[in-house]
Amino acid sequence: MLKVENLKKYFPVERGVFRRVVDYVRAVDGISFEIKKREIFALVGESGCGKTTTAKLIVRLLEATDGRIFFNGKDISLLGRRELARKIQIIFQDPFASLNPRLTIGTIVGEAVRHRLETAGEKIGIKETAEKTKELLNRVGLPVNILNEYPHQFSGGQRQRIGIARALAMQPELIVADEPVSSLDISVQAQILNLLLDLRDSLGLSYILIAHDLNVVRFLSDKVAVMYQGKIVETGSVKMVYDNPHHPYTKKLLEAIPTLETRLSE
């Protein structure tokens, strides 16, 4: 469904008055992977390895320096933004920063509903928008009577649900989830992870999961790619990579996970 070929993103490093380009930061340095329908594909790695840059390239919040991304066989750089937004959506890490504090929940989610229908050439009334918004809120496990409330009235987990509802409003086929649970408490984290799985089952979604928590990745994903300094150093099914890592960096990463057993087995 999604195919990434030799994707590169270099950020220029500028010096001096004339902003002379002296070097490049190779944030993403020639990565390739493929995602099938209903698959959950995880990109893992430590901070600065290029995983968030990759996420932004896929939804075209950044333009690639080189390489191509195909969605259902079409090069995404040839698609219009609106068209792309209807196929691929993104959920951000920080549910506090990614919702406009001045808009009501009804507007945040309803805007996306209207946007989709208008792109499809349909006219939609206020009442109908509200109905559709309520459906979405219900789907992500939120009460439906919150249309006139503002983001600050909600907890981190609830805001993340609002972000998910907004992404679903576009009826995408693929959702890029950039650290969707890393800012949430453990007890709430489990709720959101379950929700992501429920939505995959009921809507047939695929996910690209960007994460640094290897326990979360193991639980949630089918396939995993380990990134290090802008490159994918190891990739395969979760079982294969976790049970039998080959690359020394993957081994180091897996060994560093604080497991519940380590000390107790001593």
Binding site: S187, L197, R218, I257, T259
Partner: protein, 330 residues
Amino acid sequence: MEKILEVRNLSVEFYKGGKVIPALRDVSITLKENEVLGIVGESGCGKSTLALAVLKLIPEREGKIVSGEVLFKKEELLSLSDEKLLKVRGDRISIVFQDPFTSLNPLFRIGNQIAESLALHRKENLSTYQIEKEIIELLELVKMPKPKDTMLSYPHQLSGGMQQRVMIAMALSSNPEILIADEPTTALDVTIQKEILGLLSELQKKLGLSVVLITHDFGIVAQTCQRVSVMYAGSIVEEASTSEIFHNPLHPYTKGLLESLPSREESRDFSQGEKRRLRAISGQVPDPSNLPSGCKFHPRCPIVIEQCKPEEPRLREIIENHWVRCIRAG
């Protein structure tokens, strides 16, 4: 083992927008010599407030310690004068905070910042040469690869892990007896986290430190702590040895938390088409300014009964050295 630090019935309130927020409610902990005690809980449960309150660091304008006492080697700390308290705080009890990026002053070289803490906490006057020697020894103690270069660098030139090592070196510069570490590795990557935790354990043994480790990560607790206190909504709901907590959790909140971890050990066979779901705790952490009546966990509790609602349960010792705040346990 001797008790080195005892917190008894400590309550702290914060005042915000005309509201009283009970951040800590009747918290008691005991730290023994040479022990690593873990304090676990989710954000807002009061674990960082506890660290601050022990050292009387609650900003006066924002809140205050309402009741309780803190005994350090049988000496009460909270009633000490500021002057006397300074001899304990940062000197015999040191603290390492979560975020090394904001804890170091960006304008001074690492060496100067460590020198400042040496100057404040050492009785004797050290010569420049001695100070330099001590700084290098401290940086070697926390295993900085190039202590001499580090001494001359500015904080931004060091990585997060290296900055945290510097923070630990500063905390140890006064030869403390107790080290309080408040989420010391949360801001760091896993591989670096492993190094820092390893370093802390090693130093704890080598220097005979007693450590209070505050964290939200049960994995870290499993690896480093001997005893654990689990906090929820400002009070301790369960306390026991680490292995007891993991093998025999008695409070429904502790049980729920442990079950909701997507632990690595939970390796599953995906080919069977089995539904992968975590056992999540329903609901969310209560708003501290609007706590429920009775047991603070009752709205989320799977085994709640009518008797849980009117009155908050006491912390009871159900098995030897295993304390639980739940009327249904045991």
